[in-house]
Each structure stands twice: as C-alpha cells, then as structure tokens.
Symmetry: C2
Subunit: 324 residues, 2 copies
C-alpha cells in the first residue's frame, strides 16, 4: 500500500479540466493497491478514483483493462467505470505516468468472509463470465501454466530460503500439472485475482468488483478455482466446505459448470495454488526490506496446494451429485 | 504518510452506528499525516475523516485539540469539525486506539505557494487568533523555548552526523535565544505548525485549516514567525520578501501587530527556525531506515536560521514604516 507518484495540485487541476467533471475540490493519496498509485479525487461532480500506473504494469495492456471495465459496467457488472475525457479517451498521462480516472465504487471488502459473502461472490463471478461475452479484446494469461516454470526458474536456486522442501514440491507438482492440465474447457475473460479485497459489500449486499489488472482470457473454471483458494480457507488454512458449497452454488445460480469443468476443478485448484505460491515466493525473495509494501507469506499456498493434492472430486469442495 | 493501524470492516461499521451518520458505505486509508492513521469514511450522510491517534500523540491532549476545532468551527474559522457520537463525545476508541471522526474539508494544499496564498494564510491565521478568544482549555507549548535545550541534549553527541557545524551553531543560538527571548507578548491559542500542507485552497480561495495537533498557548507573533519560515522561503532557501509582505499585510488586515510584536519578530523567527531545526535533526538521527515515513532534511532550517540572524527589523520581512 503506497503512493509511488506524488501528483502536484497544479498538474491535477489541469488534468481534471480535460474531463467534463467540474472543478477539482480535493485529492488524497490512498494506501491501497500494491502495484499502482491511487488517489481519491473529489470534483464538483462527485468522488472518483485516479490511478497512476506504475512500472510493473504493462502499458500495452491498459486499453484491455479499461475497455473491460467499461464493457462490464455496461453489461450489468458493478465495477468502477472509466471516465472518458473531452478527447474521448479513457487513458491519459499525468506526472509522467499513464493515468485513468474511474467512478468511485462505494463498499468495502469483508475482512472475515461468511458463506453468504461467498455465495454472492460466486454469483458475481458467473455474472462477470457471462457479461464478458461480446468483449473482443484479448489478453493472454501471463501467469497461467506456461508462465509458471519460467517464473520458478528465476528463483529456484534460492527456493530453500522460503522453505526447505519447496523445490521438491514445486518440481514434482509442475511436472504433474504440465502432464495433466485440462485443455478445451469453456473459456472467456476471467478476473484471475478475485480475492476478498477485490470485492466490495455494503452491509450484506455485494456492491461491486474492483482491480481487473490480472484479467485475461482463460478457462472460466480456473477463475472458480482461484476464488476457492481465495475465499474458502480459514486463517488456520483448513478448507471450509460450507463456504466452498456456498460459493459454487452461488456461481451455478448464474452459470452452470459443465461436467468437464467439474471434473477439472481439483487440478485447476492445484494450478491456482501453484500460481500464487510462485508469485509470492518470488516476491518474498525479491522485495527489498525497506520497500513500501510487505510481501505476503508464500507458506499459506504450500498448505493450500497440499490440500488440493488430496482432493478426489468437486464433492470435496462442497458440490455433490445432487447439485445439478 | 502511512496507515499504522488497520481497522476491520466490522469494527468500523459498529463504531459508525454509535454516531447519527447513517450506514457505513466505504473507507480507505489515506497516505497523509505523519503522526496518526487517517481514513476517508463515506456514510450515507457524506464523507468524513477518521483519525486513529498513534503513540506519538499525548492522549491527555486530545480533548484540547478536538475542543479547539469545535470552538474554531463555531467561530468563523473553517476547519474539520469533530462529530459527536450518541453519547455526546467527540473522542472514542477504535481498534485499541483513541479515535475521532471529523467532517471532510474540501480543498488541497498549494505545492507552489504564491503571494496571494500567503496573504490568505495571513488573514486566516489572524482570524484564528481572534477566534480562539473564549476558548478556555490550555496547552503549554512543549516545543517552545523551554523545550529546545532538552531536545538538543538528546542528540547533541551525534549532532555532527547532521552537519559538522551544527553543535556550534545551536549552542551559540540557544544561549542567545535564552538571554533575549521576548516575554509579555500578546498570547492566545496558536496553530504552531501552519505549513502549506495544513492550509487547503479551492482555486484561489482558502477553504480551511487542518492539523491542530501542535496547537498550544503561546505568543501570537510566534505563530506569525513560524509561517514566515513555512511560507516565504523559496526552494533555493532565499527569503521572498514579496511573500513575506503579502503574509504580514494579510495578517494585519484582520489583526494589527503591536509595536512590541513587530520588534520581536526577528528573534521569534530565529526561535521558530531553531524549533524546526531541532525536531528535524532529532528525527533525522532517530528514524529507522525502514520507517514508513521519510524524515525531512534539517539543513533547510540551518539556512533559514542564518537568514534570520542577519535580519535587522520587520522591514526585512516586507513590512515597513508605512504599513500601519
């Protein structure tokens, strides 16, 4: 959480005049977002979020992310909506950075997700999967199966600094995933990072989804697997089958999983645990001690991966044969 | 700039119900404030700022600060106004910290102050000085003359790490200030830290003052001296007499300086430069390298102090005999 780029009042006031948003009233850097700099901006037309894209974001991908948010907002998925400036652009430049202004989404993420939250997230994810139909831009999943081994290669000589048994675990698992990864699953745009801090609620109602900066084309069921990892484990890293059932049933209220997807879910969950294990291990080893952000512990995903290795079918996640 | 205390959604929602502010809609930690944790909180009644007071703040002083803001807001000084909860209290507890909710003040601080800004600040400071009449709580200036030598004693053995000539400069100057410090100047409540980042503007209009956490009882003219240091030096640390004149004339539009105050201004400016030199030098030497905040360079105040040592009268700050 950090403000990487300080914006001056004069630069921002000038930037705001390029939008039909009235006068700049205030702006404050917010301590959210690991990758980018975010400000809450008040203009006479209301509150907005200003994002300055920092070095870790591929500039070439920004039209995809912003276009996706516009498409989703226009197709029934509540999310921050990019505002277009007088030139009709949703992406501009500020303080030497690519910058976008989006509508302010009220709500806040649940620190202790309940089964009801999980059900709402399942419905919202399925609504997003269906809502992406007709969105024609594409973005490959850079953190999908093909990306895992190259990422591991970048830190494998130091893997034991994370955990003494990490290299054995990762190498065996990568070989398994590469040999058995399911192809030909239904695909479309997935969020790919729908963790609790990316889903806002007001009271019990889901108010919207945020942070589409990992969104990409991939199997819908892989997105489901990511959120099983993200929402359905307790602090002690035990899997909460009540939450798993709530999430999957919520998803299926809007979009039924196919038999192939159901069968693939355990390996997709293993792959998704691998993805977060690898990125966290890499960040753990490569984040300077004095960095503005604290890296997350990769060990949590070793535990999740081991759980999924023992899963036999989707029934272990909470859906059984009677859920049709 | 930092969020030191993370507040959970459940704690905050429960906290908000103790106020007559409707439902909690959102909250985001903001990257402002060196001493405390601040959140922007939206409720169905509008935006507010939530402050959690961290360890560097004296809890016993909080009723003074909050009472002062209420008094000022009721007496024509625009500033964040503490909100009282159902129990009638403006100070409560959240996440184990003393906490207060204040109204959101629109505006933003000028990164490049102009003479017009300086004039507006002068008027606002004088309005605050007069507006404090009738406020009966008291707080001594812990960073006034009596506090400087003890503060210096805490780091004098390491003073050369800041600047090779620092100990000579400080010891000579402290002796001078102690021998010549003016007594019996008009006193009242002063802001004591009215730097540009504590004064908000919307366009050219001053919208209000913030951050009263150094406010105390002391000489009004000492507050004037602090802001001469804070507003009227350029980035190259030259004194801008046009800004000095604008600030002093703005002040005198609302409250005339007495002849004694005018005569005392050069030494008060030296004292004020000493105060910021000492606190910055202390912080410079005592802030861990991995701290969330970056200490400010004390050398800027060595330069300011040397300027004031050469000042002969208030004319050097821009007011001359014809300004009456």
């Amino acid at each position: 959480m950090a403000v990487y780029t300080e914006v001056s009042d004069e630069e921002l006031a000038s930037f705001i005049t390029s939008y039909d948003l009235g006068d700049l009233l205030s702006f404050k850097g917010i301590a959210e977002g690991v990758e980018n700099t975010n400000y809450i901006v008040h203009t006479s037309k209301g509150p907005f979020i200003l994002t300055l894209y920092e070095k870790r974001v591929e500039v070439a991908d920004l039209p995809f992310y912003l276009g996706l948010m516009e498409h989703l907002a226009a197709h029934g998925v509540s999310c921050p909506t990019p505002v277009r400036n007088a030139a009709g652009e949703n992406l501009s430049t500020l303080s030497g950075r690519p910058a976008a202004l989006v509508t302010f989404l009220e709500g806040f993420w649940p620190r202790r997700p309940t089964p009801d939250h999980c059900a709402a997230v399942g419905r919202a994810m399925a609504t997003m999967h269906l809502g992406c139909e007709g969105f024609t831009m594409r973005r490959a999943n850079a953190l999908g199966l093909d990306g895992w081994r190259p990422l591991y290669d970048r830190f494998k000589l130091r893997a034991s600094e994370v955990s003494t048994d990490l290299s054995g675990l990762v190498e065996t698992e990568l070989a398994f995933l590469e040999a058995n990864w399911p192809r030909d699953l239904p695909e479309g745009i997935i969020h790919a990072d729908l963790f609790p801090d990316n889903v806002f609620f007001i009271g019990d109602e889901l108010s919207g989804l945020i942070d589409f900066y990992f969104a990409c084309n991939d199997a819908f069921a892989y997105d489901v697997a990511v959120s099983l990892n993200a929402w359905c484990f307790e602090k002690d890293l035990s899997f909460n089958i009540t939450k798993g059932r709530a999430f999957l049933r919520g998803y299926e209220e809007v979009r039924k999983l196919t038999p192939t997807e159901r069968a693939a879910l355990p390996i997709l969950a293993r792959g998704s645990a691998m993805r977060f294990l690898l990125t966290r291990a890499y960040d753990w080893l490569n984040t300077p001690k004095d960095a503005l952000v604290t890296p997350k512990n990769p060990a949590d995903y070793i535990r999740r991966l081991r759980f999924h290795q023992g899963v036999r079918s989707i029934a272990d996640y909470g859906l059984n044969g009677t859920d049709k």
